[in-house]
Symmetry: C2
Subunit: 176 residues, 2 copies
């Protein structure tokens, strides 16, 4: 059976819809990988190759964005916050929990630790979204600090030590 759904006045075939989801996935993965390849090229003293990787990463993001737009996945901000909150809660409570169990069963303490860090960080994200949902109209200015090791996000305070992975202060990137 071919399921059709509304798409900008037209209707989209289920296989075409699946193709757009695959494209979103493939292009998002490519964009992230290429950004890391860019950092690696910088480390090797090849800034022009690094630039090329970054430019192509940006191009892949355009493809991913186009797919998400066709799928009507970018809604209004209130909906986007709610969706992101739901997604973090699921990732922390279901996905990472499962991965921690797997790694523990396999006796891989290092992987279990990494998964545990990520679970804690996703919980922090969920709280940040919750806060934002409660104050959607009361905008306030703040700086955020993201730990380069585990991704922990600190709201307003530059931590001396990462509370999740114990990385030192200089491992935080400031966003303001």
């Amino acid at each position: 059976m071919t399921i059709l759904f509304e798409n900008g006045g037209g209707q989209m075939d289920e296989r075409v819809k699946e193709a757009f989801y695959k494209i979103y996935e493939g292009e998002a993965k490519a964009a992230l990988r290429l950004k890391l390849f860019a950092n690696k090229a910088d480390q090797e003293g090849l800034p022009q190759i690094a630039q090329l990787f970054r430019v192509i990463a940006s191009s892949e993001e355009v493809h991913g964005e186009r797919a998400l737009r066709m799928l009507r996945e970018i809604k209004d901000t209130e909906s986007n916050l709610k969706e992101s909150f739901g997604s973090e809660t699921h990732v922390a409570g279901v996905a990472y929990d499962h991965f921690i169990r797997l790694a523990t069963e396999a006796g891989d303490t290092n992987a279990a630790n990494i998964f545990s860090h990520s679970k804690d960080v996703e919980d922090v994200h969920a709280n940040l979204y919750k806060k934002a949902m409660g104050h959607l109209m009361e905008e306030r200015e703040t700086s955020y600090y993201v730990c380069k090791v585990c991704g922990y996000v600190s709201d307003g305070v530059w931590p001396d030590v990462c509370p999740v992975c114990s990385a030192p202060k200089d491992q935080f990137v400031e966003f303001r």
Copy 2:
């Protein structure tokens, strides 16, 4: 059967390896989605919410990066260029070709056009990688222009009109 593979002196259980791949995929998708949510929040006049989405996108990228590092997926630049070239060639010649056929069969001309644009752009990427592979040691400075509509990358020249999707000049973002 549990397949083991070398990982930084230790060995990684196949299920743990799969978990890292899933994490890379999920976090890359989240990072891209959140960046688009950030742009949407900016359009709605909510710059603080936009900032929150960007900060969390960056945190998700840290998780994705950690997974890719554990999987030893970030190699030296010469290998990364070769891999990227191979990947683009596959995406243009196999994946997008398949999607174009699907969309054409489904009578979705709009989707077929979008897939066709992306295929052409991936071919351009492959050529850029090829050029870079041939001149790995001869670095040269250049500006790139990326079309915000279809992702086309122009090397050194700001086009009047996008040769792939016909978007006008002001739809290009400069990278230098």
